[in-house]
Symmetry: C2
Amino acid sequence: MRAAVFEAPGSIVVVDRPDPVLVDPGDAVVRVTATCVCGSDLWYYRGQSPRAHGQTIGHELVGVVEEVGADVRTLRPGTTVVAPFRWNDGDCPHCRWGAPVACLRGGIWGQPGADGAQGEAVRVPFADATLVAVPDGAATPALVPSLLALSDVMGTGHHAAVAAGVRPGSTVVVVGDGAVGLCAVLAAHRLGAERVVACSRRPDRQALARRFGASDVVAGRGDDAVAEVLDLTGGVGADHVLECVGTAESMRTALAAVRPYGGVGYVGLPHGVELPVGTLFGRGLTVGGGIAPARRYLPELLADVLAGTIEPGLVFDHRVGLEQIADGYRAMDGRQAVKSLCLLG
Amino acid sequence: MRAAVFEAPGSIVVVDRPDPVLVDPGDAVVRVTATCVCGSDLWYYRGQSPRAHGQTIGHELVGVVEEVGADVRTLRPGTTVVAPFRWNDGDCPHCRWGAPVACLRGGIWGQPGADGAQGEAVRVPFADATLVAVPDGAATPALVPSLLALSDVMGTGHHAAVAAGVRPGSTVVVVGDGAVGLCAVLAAHRLGAERVVACSRRPDRQALARRFGASDVVAGRGDDAVAEVLDLTGGVGADHVLECVGTAESMRTALAAVRPYGGVGYVGLPHGVELPVGTLFGRGLTVGGGIAPARRYLPELLADVLAGTIEPGLVFDHRVGLEQIADGYRAMDGRQAVKSLCLLG
């Protein structure tokens, strides 16, 4: 099969790799029909995190089951599935507690020795527990981008909202206008937030944030953004702030824009971020987040995608084929694209 | 009237002070019938936090209304009341949102210019919003210690449990065996935790923790405590950890004893505490707490005290009169007492 691999910073190539085969009786082989490039893929692309020469890449996928092992009970060849960005056994204490992302036998597509999602097919461990089936005939071409968004970005934006404690009637600020931030706007709106303030200075992203349910847009950054939020909230601050960037400045903005005893959900992988305990304690803030338990959220979000009430696939604004996936990286690296979709077959 | 004041580190004296009078129409004057010494009072007693020579002290009290201003509607002379450790107007955005502790016009007994609770009487601003009435005849001598515990320690222990997300069936670890830690054990048990692990090496506190609902006691500290918790939980860690000390070591213990994607509630004022963002993000932890909104919790906790289902007053193990209140400080400073009760009149 053909699959993208990391060659060196700035260089993604598509090469021939062995077709995946069943190894364990709980495995499935899934033919990938759609994958995409994640903001986190840019870390190794930019040389900001290490990755081996020739390593597989990509961790978001929608596909069709091609083959299943002897122990697989809920899937059959031909079923369309969404895969979360990590596999999980569904049976360890963390899985059973609702944290499949911490599964003791879990892993992520593209880790050493595993297939990457940016390829024609993947071997899926613990297929019954990992994959979520899409009803026959439901995965129309128009719906595929939104299904694919459930692999990671929509679940991650939703996790920020859940971790921050968003509830019906909340006033929410979302820091970050990348794909995750935009999905966080959608998630907050979906959870019943009355007011959702998106932070963005780019007209196209402002427009999508509004389409996703933002009631207000703040164009400033840092202290300016905080001042605008305080102005919008009568000096009080937001009930909940969703930090979807991961920089020191974005976290400072989040901690200053939230009201006393409010909640901050953070899902941007922290780079240089500090959590000042004096501020947190003194203002009574709750801070939570981390890597999203995407598998846990998948069924409820899938139901809403199928019902047409959310359309997270709108975050994709660039399309490539597998052989041109390097273009998808370049467009996101150069900020010409929010998120690059890659359709196969 | 007679009231205790701070003279210098290690020196608490009882002096004559002016009787409080009504100043604003929402005020009440309350004659104090019971007060106590808080762990946080030891900071200035030990010279660890600054306090002016001659400043009033104490912030926990049960009393009887003596006089009310023209605007006071819900209280009348003779009513027994519990005061939370801060007063609040009940009407600002923070009060209305459930964070009266952040009231824009709030304050704490013993702050410069205010009466301290360790005295014969206090002026209470915003009396209707601040004070919680005890039904006539209910404040029996046997019940007074538990009513007094609602001023601060029980509400603070409860806040740790709420901030950590304790729910029915939870496995909870409480770090700290002071009055707040013991109340946190009681709070976790009250909220339906199935397993409550108290950390204490002192037999009398272990016994009280068990009476408050602890199912297990861990005697180790630091890494030893973590190892014991992991052993008790099959290597998983606790669903929720309540950090009721405020030291760097106690927070490290809390963050290591909690399971991935679990919650840490912390209510010990942090001294040298760090919140390592890499650990928090990587383990998906939620951390919340700070100064407890004691007023918000008072009605529900009072109902349980009156019903006899909780008895937080058991944390008091030393009794003094007002003129001997310095003894109450000494006993707590020397760790001979968990918490000193001071009965007046």
